[in-house]
């Protein structure tokens, strides 16, 4: 892989999809460079302690049992932003994470590894709202053009409607009582609720004893014993390598290391298709260019091995940036490429909020006669959602308790609930941080608590985004400086959705509703290198030929509020076709 046709920078959610399409459909040779580690690959048996191999091209290197060993399903092990195996930082865990300068009460939640942030996602795969594509003047093509790519992505990632378990039944009760209708389409243009579209296989597609997976099931959940499909564990933020013992490609949740990386490596076994090589621990520090006819042209990249510290330059015919909404503009700016004012700007994040409902046992038992508790760790993390195109949406979520304590009670911009007044006209009972005895009381109700995540249709604004920091640098140059603040319109939309969420909780019979009033949580990041501004309609840089962006930063907005993975991957698949059409 010394002479790739295309170098892709970043093997997160979108890079592997781009690589697969280029190699599988167009016979293009691809080198994927990933700054973080690779889990579940025999070349790196101890990815956080030992440098391991250099590059992997063989699908047989993938090892699902090794992945089970590395993804312990434990919360702090996985999610701690400083030491967890799902953090942004060098693979070597004796070192600190990569620093981003953030002068805000805010949190950036990403994962730097093969699979990227899709390693800890809930696998929610709704399509963007058609309205968000069609009505934006800078978005260069119609929603309908993306639909075939959505369909392809949904097929490859097993995207389907999520299963309803106890907590979802409670949501449905509330939404129905509040007067909302069931939506039965993937192309959402109206307000209502619907099952989540997610990239997780059907629960118990095959079980070990041939019996259905329901409350009476007493068989094994091991792949080796014959279990296939989803196992109904809500541990997706810990990596979710279930069913245990399954090969990587047969894990139920199709994060991109499961849904795309094995397929991409499979192309090496066909003489008709291109080759794909993936090198982890390779952090790209520069984009090589030459002066073309009146414009710049990308000729390759320079990367730094995060274990050895050695740098190397790779030449290629085209370069694709897929490092995500922070690293892609940071690399662009550190490489000194032209900036007409929108590089790194226009970052959107779905201006989240989190509305928590606590229920008593009787209320839940009335709704779920067969269940005793809501048990937020049972079932998929998020299996039902609410849509309101033009405003945003929300999704019903259950998680393990460390995450719940953080998200429900320890992350706020409202101050401490003991000092925070609640407007009696608002439909929530408390607001802000919950601490002390009250925190312990609330957490004692963990098994009857669930939250609704608000996903606001925040619009791209030039003063939000990523720039080069003027204070700190690391081994890759100036660190990213990140800033995101809501516009009053975003606040108004979020308030409306929060009221709807509280109302749904109350209509379902919640005994207590709490509004966290989150500060910015930069998780669903989009649009920091947007098409129509930095990129043209093919996602090629307007100012640099042969340089493409194939990650969520190429989206022109937050696709209206729906979770962005499906849209980002669908767009990346389209971009792969465009690259091949233009240059190969």
């Amino acid at each position: 892989m010394n002479d790739p046709d295309v170098v892709i920078v970043g093997a997160g959610a979108d890079g592997p999809a781009t690589a697969w399409k280029l190699a599988h459909d167009h016979g293009v040779d691809v080198l994927l460079l990933e700054g973080g580690p690779w889990h579940g690959n025999e070349q790196w048996p101890k990815p956080h302690a030992d440098s391991g191999g250099t590059v992997s091209t063989d699908p047989d290197d993938l090892d699902g049992k090794l992945l089970d060993e590395q993804f312990t399903h434990r919360e702090a092990d996985a999610n701690d932003p400083t030491y967890g195996y799902l953090r942004v930082g060098p693979a070597d865990h004796s070192r600190a994470p990569w620093f981003r300068n953030l002068h805000q009460n805010a949190f950036i939640w990403q994962v730097g590894a093969v699979g990227g942030t899709s390693l800890h996602y809930f696998a929610n795969h709704p399509r963007g709202y058609p309205t968000a594509f069609n009505d934006q003047p800078h978005w260069p093509f119609d929603y309908e053009e993306l639909v075939p790519y959505y369909q392809l992505n949904e097929e490859l990632t097993s995207t389907q409607q999520a299963p309803m378990t106890g907590k979802e039944e409670v949501f449905i009760e509330g939404a129905t009582n509040a007067g909302y209708d069931l939506i039965e389409t993937k192309n959402v243009t109206e307000t209502g609720w619907r099952p989540q579209a997610n990239a997780v296989e059907v629960p118990g597609r095959e079980t070990s004893n041939g019996q259905p997976l329901d409350a009476d099931y007493e068989g094994s959940f091991s792949y080796d014993d014959g279990f296939r499909g989803d196992t109904l564990v809500g541990d997706h933020f810990q990596g979710s390598s279930t069913p245990v013992d399954a090969p990587v490609r047969d894990k139920a949740r199709k994060s991109s290391n499961v849904g795309y990386v094995p397929r991409a490596l499979d192309t090496n076994e066909s003489s008709e298709q291109g080759n794909v090589a993936l090198r982890p621990n390779a952090y790209v520090t520069d984009i090589e260019t030459k002066e073309g006819a009146g414009t710049l042209e990308a000729t390759g990249v320079t990367f730094r091995d995060s274990w050895s510290g050695q740098s190397q330059t790779v030449d290629s015919d085209t370069v694709v940036l897929a490092g995500g909404c922070i690293e892609t503009p940071r690399l662009w700016l550190n490489a000194g490429l032209p900036d007409d004012g929108w590089v790194g700007k226009g970052l959107t994040t779905h201006w989240f909020d989190w509305i928590v409902g606590v229920y008593d046992d009787e209320t839940v038992a009335d709704i779920n006669p067969e269940g005793e508790h809501m048990d937020p760790y049972v079932g998929q993390n998020s299996a039902v959602r609410f849509e309101k195109p033009g405003i945003g949406g929300m999704e019903d979520i259950g998680m393990s308790p460390g995450l719940v304590s953080y998200a429900d009670y320890l992350f706020s911009q409202a101050g401490y609930s003991f000092d925070t007044e609640v407007d009696p006209d608002e439909p929530w009972d408390t607001r802000g941080y919950v601490v002390g005895e009250e925190l312990k009381r609330r957490m004692s109700n963990y098994k009857q608590t669930k939250a609704l995540l608000i996903l606001t249709d925040d619009l791209p604004r030039q003063n939000n985004g990523v720039s080069l920091d003027t204070t700190f640098s690391d081994e890759h140059g100036a660190v990213p400086n990140v800033k995101w603040e809501p516009h009053p319109d975003d606040d108004a939309k979020r308030d409306e959705l929060s009221r709807i969420a509280a109302n749904i909780h109350k209509e379902a019979g919640a005994e207590h509703v709490h509004r966290c009033d989150w500060p910015p949580l930069l998780l669903h990041m989009q649009s920091s290198m947007r098409m129509g501004e930095v990129l043209d309609s093919n996602a090629e840089a307007k100012n640099v030929n042969r340089l493409f962006v194939a990650d969520h930063s190429a989206l022109a907005n937050g696709v209206g509020g729906p979770n962005p993975t499906n849209s980002g991957q669908a767009l990346a698949l389209r971009t792969a076709d465009k690259i091949a059409d233009i240059y190969f």
Binding site: R74, R194, P389, F472
Partner: protein, 384 residues
Amino acid sequence: MNERTDPSTTRRGVMKGIGGLAALSMSGATIAEAEDVLNDSVPSDPHTLDTYRSIVDAIVPRTPQLESELGPEHVPGGLDVELEKFLVWDFNHFQEIRAEMVTEKGLLDGPSDAEMPLEMFESVLDLTNLGGLFGPDSPLDAVLNLADLDLLGLDLGLDDDALEEALTFGPVERYDISFADDVASSSGPAAFELLVETANETTHEVVQNYPYAPAFTLVFDIVAAEFIARGENEDAIKRDRSKFPAGGTFVQLSPEDRLRCLWTIVDGGVIDRLDDLLSPLVPDVGILKYVVMAVNGLHGFGYYTEWSGLGETKTNTPTERSLSTPAGEVQSRKQSGYPGPADGYAANWRHAVEGGFADPDAEDLNLPSDLKGDDVIEGIGGGT
């Protein structure tokens, strides 16, 4: 207080410029001991630990009052599982400083765009001989010395005497952060030397990464002093510090006032007002709002996860941690009822849409023509 406290290794003059490990060896410590110091994750001075203990106690306190209502498992709090060590470890592993990116100020043409001045990371707060002939008159005076300021030059908008009266760093007499190696001629992750002296003991640490944990606690004392000087505390201050004896002004506040005080960093203009005073103590004052987010949030990543089950390994390097208590049986999990990770769950489920979503081909899509633009926000105000 700390078994690794070793006065023989505190002579910074010997250490400086030679390299931490080699210097420790020369100072009489064995290489094994030196590595122990270098690798130990949470050797910490008492002021730092007690300050974080006071925050842990405010957010996850012991609650004996819950025993009769919820059961005895709800009594212990964060201090019972040493959660303060979790906070210290995370802050001290928060940012790696690369030696090759650090430069002596004034060399050649000064720092390039990517280089960081050495002085940004080195700081000495000297409180020895308070009121003496050559020492500062007060802790505030020492902070002013460090910032190269005088009170007249500060416009804090409050009674300076009240600030002076309120500020104490408890038993801390000297706080000194410096590079352990000659960064001008080295590369890779830089190690820092941290020296905290009190009247009767000295804590010396050599740590990889910038030692933010102790720096933040000094900041919290200064912010607390301003909080008190402004009269923003709602409860009486306790000067005896009996619960957290090594703390400073911050621990004198009631549990709720400690949190109100931290909140003034986010929502009280503190960073702007105290920028001059705080700048010499942390490389970038701007991150303090993020730090307040983390101070609160880390209780979720620590206390309410399985972290306390890691036993003696809980502050080792991450690859050397192992559970001694099963993930579902740690203190906080008994309080939440979470059984810990499982391979799967037998549970009833159904599909809400029989047969799945309708999805015509793109050319057959018949979307409504009256779609609203993304700038349309009608319905705001609680309607549906």
